[in-house]
Symmetry: C2
């Protein structure tokens, strides 16, 4: 059974310490490299940080696709023979930047996706993308990418699954919130549920902090096609999660002898 | 803050012991009544049992809406001043019966719903309904009803939520399956996730067994609008779960200062 090894790099990001952030990203990759993963994932806005004061600050940190962050993804993909997925603050022609993510393989950018569901004050900072989440062919199979809050919409995950995605990757920044004792955060629960619903693998790369007074859940997770975690959820600390996934398992949609996760849907009733 | 008390009656159903099944249903109601609930919920096919040998056997156990099971719901609704929701095997004009559920209040049938997503060998026994899951006005608020596998389709729960449902009730029979140690079953995870996605309360009334060699998860659960269990998940034993729900909480869809669970959706991207 061919397996795909994925590494999820959950590290501390600080908008007021770009050099330290980059150093922690690199240390995280070095740790991941020990496992020789075929896929390396970074968080949302993985070099810039998240808690921008205003549009002007976000624009000042924004980069074109040929800027230093995606260039770093290209170098790392070549050095580690791995697909690299991560988020960056993308410069736009307009007033506001995009909250974007790139998928890079063999030094080439396969796709850039611009977040379409903006969370809270992101709506005051970023322009929302207007294109569906992409599903890209890679050497390990079909990978979809979306960003953080995007992945909390079941139709969003369902859409990429029905377009053939085997692994749905969501670079994320999950702000801390009240979670009842003993419970997993509802974000993790959604990642589990949407994996099970669509019989796909889901992978969330969260981050830790703190950053300008905001704390983070730090609950990166990798879920199998039945919705059970195979790595994580992480527990709020910097960590590299590694998991071996049989991505062929996501090509089969039978959920019982007589059921199929896709053809059982009855869209005219919804 | 007005609260609605719900009671979830998870008891042993046995297709080969209808009298005993009815006795356990009644004992469960008696226990529930101590809490003076405004809503009492029974499982799917709560008097007939589930593991039918064939269509003929299911037809022989089927009942019209004015048959004994829904009549019992009517009596119990009057006696306990409660809304009663439960599943029954509904006689049809055709060859196959329906796997149905009724919502009853004040001795009156508010709605009968016929399961639209049939699980596994149900496809060999039942006719599937062709109507969307209903949302009904009750004395406690708007209640939606669907049955077991129906509730595993996020669009199904989303649909009733957008039609105003505050509490989504799913009488269920969850067959046992492999669940990794320490994990909740993926069915529970979906009930949690879809509550959080739609900012509604979800309630699953499961059953226990065994029945003709089939075991059951027995994981009835009531989830709040953030997706966290407020009662259950039950642990495979007969039990009455009781929870107090502020159903007004499901009327508000703000999930942050700048986010709304419904208007944030971008259906043209899915």
């Amino acid at each position: 059974m061919p397996t795909t090894r994925v590494a999820v790099c959950q590290y501390a990001i600080d908008i007021d310490d770009p050099a330290g952030t980059l150093e922690r990203l690199r240390a995280s990759v070095a740790e991941a490299a020990d496992s020789q993963p075929q896929v390396i994932v970074f968080p949302e806005l993985c070099t810039s940080g998240y808690v921008f004061h205003d549009i002007a600050e976000a624009q000042s940190r924004s980069e074109p696709v040929d800027g230093p962050t995606v260039q770093l993804f290209r170098e790392l993909s070549l050095k580690h023979h791995a697909i690299v997925v991560g988020g960056f603050c993308e410069r736009s022609d307009g007033e506001r930047p995009f909250n974007s993510a790139a998928v890079v393989e063999d030094g080439e950018v396969l796709v850039v996706y611009r977040k379409t569901h903006l969370w809270d004050t992101e709506k005051l900072i970023f322009a929302a993308g207007d294109e569906p989440a992409p599903v890209v062919d890679t050497s390990v199979g079909k990978i979809a990418v979306m960003i953080c809050y995007d992945a909390e919409f079941p139709e969003m995950v369902g859409s990429v699954a029905r377009r053939g995605a085997q692994l749905v990757i969501a670079p994320s920044n999950w702000p801390a919130k009240h979670i009842p004792p003993g419970e997993r955060s509802s974000e993790v629960i959604k990642a589990q549920a949407f994996a099970a619903v669509n019989h796909v693998f889901t992978l969330v790369c969260d981050r830790v902090g703190p950053e300008r007074g905001v704390d983070w859940i730090g609950a990166s997770v990798v879920c199998d096609v039945e919705g059970y975690p195979v790595a994580g959820p992480a527990e709020g600390k910097a960590v590299v999660l590694v998991a071996n996934l049989d991505l062929d398992g996501a090509l089969v949609k039978n959920v019982s002898a007589n059921n199929d996760a896709f053809s059982d849907r009855r869209p005219n009733l919804y």
